[in-house]
Point group: C2
């Protein structure tokens, strides 16, 4: 399984992806699920992947190698908007799945989904989800985050605490807490976490931060959150005596 | 959808079930998913239900009406242990599904699952899950809670804060927070919440508490938790400046 989260804020983007790939308990590997397209002066494009690993790698590698090629169906460098880029990713997904489906299906599900985000000069930062069907939806300030993969465990903390006026740092903190909740409750999502904080209008790709399990900040954050939560729960009033117990 | 939670503690049991039944957005009803078997001097038996409503009602109603009948396959009053009771529920489920499957499948999934808990005089309180297949697993102090239905949103708070040495009141508080997380993130789980706190060795059924959406305690609990969580998150350190943002 996989957990990928992308947050869109008035100040930019926060992206986070786990690294666990498992095709069974005895075949566990670390893979990168957050990819940056090659750098270009007028655009930053990130793609986060969930689903069949061969499918996601085929899509991302094809698009990386076609970047700047001028090809109408696969060159993300010649696209005029993030909307067009998200649709090109969806188109590439359809092509790969159509090619591989009949061969892969006897062994498993060939499908995949993506979060596509970034900024083109002249546009605001934007964030899209590309469904397995290849169609796309865009996030907005009313729903400032999108998730793919194992999404449920990490959703409550975001529903409670995230709004699009958060700073990138605050949102990154919430993203890591969302991953902590997911990884505590589900073994199929694992470290390290690839994290990317993109400040709006920089139009250049920042470095991806790889947060390892023993990262000092993440260790401190998890410990402080756990202790704080225990203290908070303990401080809340008990149920009325009439309820029994 | 449904969310049912059962917690087993050294001091007893805490059971909670939501009340939403929906076969589509225009057919939303409130149903009771936490049932107590008729009272008996030597046993307390509770059954929580998830899945196809016709199936769960057929199982629970059949077992309620057969209570005390002496029937070998359906009388929970003559069973010698909670283990036997859980297996009788599983057997009844298999019988109903075998009878209805071919008629129901054109319209939807006939399957169901249950949490079966309670205490027989001479046994400690016990808690079982009855899978759709009719087989059963028992909770223990190492995994002191079981969930059926929409289980993921409400699991992190339990994984973090629940242990089997909690008091019934503390566990009920955590159960309600788990429901709050689920109901905020998923519209298919809805109030009221049926809640039952059973203190070990009473061997008599306590009253089920129906926690409505505007219940003063629950309102206070949710507000205090939300505010406390926001303050906690704000108090946590921001990510290192080197991570960008």
């Amino acid at each position: 399984m996989t957990y990928c989260l992308a947050i869109i804020l008035s100040g930019g983007l926060v992206l986070a992806s786990d690294s666990r790939s498992n095709a069974g308990v005895d075949q566990v590997a670390r893979v990168q699920k957050l990819a940056l397209m090659p750098s270009a002066p007028d655009r930053v494009v990130a793609i986060q992947s969930a689903g069949n690993l061969a499918t996601t790698q085929a899509v991302v590698t094809t698009l990386t190698e076609a970047f700047g090629s001028g090809d109408e169906e696969s060159d993300l460098k010649r696209a005029d908007s993030m909307f067009e880029i998200a649709n090109l990713v969806g188109g590439q997904l359809r092509k790969i799945v159509a090619r591989d489906r009949e061969f892969v299906q006897p062994y498993g599900d060939p499908s995949a989904s993506f979060l596509v985000s970034g900024q083109l000069a002249g546009e605001r930062p934007r964030l899209f989800e590309v469904y397995s069907a290849g169609n796309v939806v865009e996030a907005s300030s009313r729903s400032p985050f999108l998730q793919i993969g194992e999404t449920k465990y990490g959703k409550p903390i975001l529903d409670r605490a995230l709004s699009d006026d958060r700073s990138l740092g605050e949102a990154a903190k919430l993203a890591l807490l969302s991953f902590d909740a997911t990884m505590r409750s589900n073994l199929s999502v694992g470290p390290p976490i690839d994290l990317l904080l993109y400040a709006a209008d920089r139009i250049q790709a920042p470095a991806i931060v790889t947060v390892e399990e023993d990262d000092p900040y993440w260790t401190q954050l998890r410990k402080a959150y756990s202790e704080g939560l225990s203290a908070l729960v303990a401080s809340l009033p008990p149920p009325p005596a009439a309820w029994g117990g």
